[in-house]
Subunit: 196 residues, 2 copies
DNA sequence: GCTAACCTATGACGAGCGTTATAGCCAGAG
DNA sequence: CTCTGGCTATAACGCTCGTCATAGGTTAGC
């Protein structure tokens, strides 16, 4: 179906250029559909298209998380980072996360921003739930989940700037160890102390 | 001087809207200078202006880091996060980091991207050096520094999307504890193990 | 074969963009 | 006072943008 190609194409372009630099004309051309079709499928215009693109991207990641978190939080985290690693390397450091891209453009599209917040909350929620299932205290689980998602998003951007995959790999290694400690060591399951 | 106002104004607009949505006309208007002056001061056009804005923003943060890291890596980290917290809250979740903004826009401006990479490398370099001075092994210091900067950048973006300061505070608390452990516990000073 | 519903195709609209050119101002040196 | 060089002011260039309107096609049910 054409409609789906437009959404995924828009997500791909937002991933690379950001929302403002993604024009509906180019999205349509990239999807092989005429410009008019875009406004037929998305009467809400660019705002609606952006929101759906972010929603689609968020859902895609969520599905991977759902599948991999069944083997535990550490496996979920590894899959999460593997996913970003693939996007960054296969694009030659040109592509990143459309959810992040929409989040940092003021007034770009209120609906898209809401979709971005939903995506972030879904990812952290899934990870936190898995951590709780493995014995981590709720508050600390939320804290760790926010750290994991934040760090992954930031590392992807750093990799693109530095044209090196090192930041992402470093961050993945640190967080893997941290999550292992939190799930395996009973003393590490609770809220962060002031002294380690 | 006018020139400086143009650079800081550009940085401020990039912080909020991203690079592509920041027009030279609006930067000039915001700085109270005529459009022609912009091309007088920055013959390289938007590319040069963007690069200088990113450089300025990177340098500002670096100065804060230099000052606060003298009291140790944990104090430096706290100042780093306090800085971002202030930007996010005082703007009502409208402003973030211009270095990140430039990093995620493909082909926006090669010179600005180089400046962004330089800024990231400066920040992580300073933090890693401070960690090494406090007994952390070099490889692990780099790893931790990448984690801190990545997580801060990502958390700022998440805060803007969710319109909540919680992600940034969660991440700050986790990383503070992690850096304290790494600098105080001799067993935590070396490369990450597979088991915590 | 007719009709109705969906989709396509094309072109136009006003607005904003980056950039350039050119003429004017206005301090300070001689 | 004059002149010169750094800055201002203004207008224009070609281009792309989001959006809309409108006419053309194409297919399914009768």
């Amino acid at each position: 179906m054409s409609r789906e190609q437009i959404v995924t194409g828009a997500a791909d372009m937002i991933r690379r250029r950001g929302l403002n630099a993604t024009s509906i004309r180019e999205v349509a051309k990239h999807a092989g559909t005429p410009l008019g079709s875009t406004y037929h499928y998305f009467p809400g215009g660019k705002t609606q298209l952006a929101a759906e693109a972010v929603q689609w991207a968020g859902g895609t990641v969520s599905k991977v998380l759902t599948a991999k978190l069944r083997k535990g939080p550490v496996d979920g985290l590894r899959a999460f980072f593997a996913l970003w690693r693939q996007i960054v390397t296969e694009s030659g450091f040109q592509a990143g996360c459309p959810v992040l891209a929409v989040s940092i453009e003021e007034n770009a599209s209120p609906q898209a921003l809401v979709a971005a917040a939903d995506a972030f909350r879904a990812w952290t929620g899934q990870l936190a739930a898995s951590l709780e299932e493995h014995g981590v205290a709720p508050g600390r689980a939320r804290s760790l989940a926010n750290l994991c998602v934040s760090a992954a998003e930031g590392a992807v951007a750093m990799c693109r700037a530095e044209r090196s995959i090192d930041p992402l790999d470093d961050v993945a290694a640190e967080l893997t160890a941290l999550l292992q400690a939190a799930t395996e060591d009973p003393e590490m399951r609770h809220t962060v102390h002031n002294r380690g």
